[in-house]
């Protein structure tokens, strides 16, 4: 369907995805420290870094369905999407630990244990760490393909935890976190349904 875009995709170097992808992060940190984020710059910084983490993680998970369903091949950008998601999750964590909680480690630890939304957010980040560490050519060469795939399957639960974390910090059910959760659930459902379909399609 979107095959016509493929020559364009081929010509875009991966580094442009990193540069463009990090631009909102650079802007939001600059804006936060220069009083350009409104009345509550910390909340805005936490929100923006968190939402960009979720967007890039979703983008990484969407690469395969986009290829299968729309014939749009973005595979060469998938690692960049995933790593950008991790970088924003890291910025989000730094904003909270440093600017929100003032590096008071015992209080931070207590919050992680006591507050489910923080426990879930931390779990999502912890799951992303081994994925990020193995997202380089050396790791891909060193680690067996099956093992590498098994490690990176964890992108699904990590993204789901991120979307749940988003819902748990808001009051009521505003549309934005619901939409993100809906997209993640749809991607998970597609992933779960695909192997079933392939098995059904195989001749007995």
């Amino acid at each position: 369907m979107l095959q016509s875009l493929s020559p364009l995709v081929r010509r875009v170097p991966v580094w442009t995805v990193y540069v463009l992808g990090l631009a909102p992060g650079v802007w939001v940190w600059y804006a936060a420290f220069n009083n350009k984020l409104g009345a509550d710059p910390l909340a805005a910084l936490e929100h923006e870094t968190g939402i960009w983490a979720l967007r890039f993680l979703i983008a990484a998970l969407a690469v395969t369905p986009l290829l299968r369903l729309l014939k749009l091949n973005l595979i060469k950008f998938r690692r960049a999407f995933g790593l950008l998601g991790f970088y924003y999750a890291l910025m989000h964590l730094v904003a909270w630990v440093w600017l929100d909680r003032g590096l008071l480690w015992s209080a931070i630890w207590a919050e992680i244990i006591k507050r489910p939304y923080i426990t879930i957010g931390m779990a999502a980040f912890a799951v992303l760490v081994p994925l990020a560490v193995t997202s380089n050519n050396l790791a891909v060469r060193r680690i067996q393909a099956a093992t590498w795939k098994r490690i990176h399957w964890w992108a699904y639960p990590a993204t789901l935890l991120g979307a749940v974390h988003f819902i748990l910090v808001v009051k009521r059910w505003p549309p934005e976190p619901m939409i993100y959760l809906g997209i993640v659930v749809a991607l998970l459902a597609w992933r779960a349904w695909k192997p079933v379909k392939m098995r059904l399609a195989k001749p007995a």
């Binding site: 936060a32 009345a39 910390l42 909340a43 600017l99 507050r115 009521r172 505003p174």
Partner: protein, 312 residues
């Protein structure tokens, strides 16, 4: 050259002396109004206020922050929505129906409720249940003075409040995915309502309330979480039974009828021990939340013998 004599100058063209004497301030205000766009155009008249002994001497939250960072879900759930989406809201004429267990139930014009009293400036701390806080100079009168106009009857135990419903003017009240059931309703026990700290505000920062802050008339209960301080009030009903309240209906486990500020009783999902002052920029950090938001000396006796963990 035409030199007009005084007789040709209409009185409406004459700059009021107060504006002339404060022309630097006026100019600064005009520049601010222009740069603020729609939020600034609605700049209101100065109110005639006397200071109050209830005021805190803490530094005020910048007006810009207090008028652009609001929870007023009738205009949308984002903090900037009330300032950005309330320009269609009309507040004149305005009347408040006072009914239930009162001697003189009626629709009271806003002027009739407020003009019999000398307006006071009350600088109160405001603590939101979400964990942030402000210090705001309100203008208004004690709610008790307004209730006295209607004459509460001896059977009255509670006061119920109701916000206006106007989907045409309030974008949060129309369309898909509305955040709450309308009208927004709140309530106080009668002794809480009659407490002198409980304020009916028609202004802030020396001027009439902007739409996004609950114009033209709102409640301010400084020792309770902000959502108790209901905005744009159109009805006050004195009742015998505890009235339903919007956030309690929406999530009874998380929001109780009392909702007193209490650092020892956490929200089920987050701590209430500390708060982030708004308007101080990124370096403002956190400060400890005080029991009854720092008004314990005035109001703690209202809750003597009550388990505040149960009556949250």
């Amino acid at each position: 050259m035409l030199i007009r004599n005084a007789g040709q100058i209409r009185s409406s063209e004459i700059t009021p002396k107060s504006v002339y004497l404060n022309r630097r301030h006026f100019m600064a205000g005009s520049v601010a109004a222009l740069s603020m766009g729609s939020a600034g155009v609605a700049s209101a008249a100065k109110l005639d206020l006397v200071p109050s002994a209830f005021s805190t001497d803490e530094a005020l939250t910048p007006k810009e922050a207090a008028t652009t960072y609001n929870n007023f879900y009738e205009f949308g759930t984002r903090k900037e929505d009330p300032a950005n989406r309330s320009s269609e809201f009309t507040t004149t004429p305005w009347s408040v129906k006072i009914d239930g267990l009162v001697d003189r139930p009626a629709d009271y014009a806003l002027e009739d409720l407020m003009s019999p009293h000398q307006l006071e400036e009350r600088i109160y701390r405001l603590r939101c249940v979400e964990g942030w806080s402000m210090v705001i100079p309100w203008a208004g009168v004690s709610l008790s003075k307004i209730l006295e106009l209607a004459g509460p009857q001896s059977g009255a135990k509670y006061v119920a409040f109701e916000t206006v419903v106007r989907p045409d003017e309030m974008p949060g009240q129309r369309g898909f995915g509305q955040a709450l059931d309308w009208p927004y309703v709140e309530g106080l026990r009668l002794d809480e309502a009659m407490h002198p700290l409980t304020l009916m505000a028609n202004g802030m920062y020396g001027e009439e309330l902007p739409n996004q802050n609950g114009a033209p008339l709102r409640l301010v209960v400084p020792w309770k979480y902000g959502f108790k301080s209901i905005k744009s009030i159109v009805r006050i009903t004195l009742t015998e039974k505890e009235p339903p309240t919007t956030w309690n209906i929406a999530n009874p486990r998380e929001y109780g009828f009392y909702s007193n500020v209490n650092p020892q009783v956490d929200h089920p999902r987050w701590s209430q021990a500390t708060e982030r002052p708004i308007g101080g920029g990124l370096g403002a950090g956190r400060k400890d939340t005080l029991m009854f938001n720092g008004y314990a000396d005035e109001v703690a006796s209202l809750y003597a013998g009550m388990d505040l963990k149960v009556n949250y």
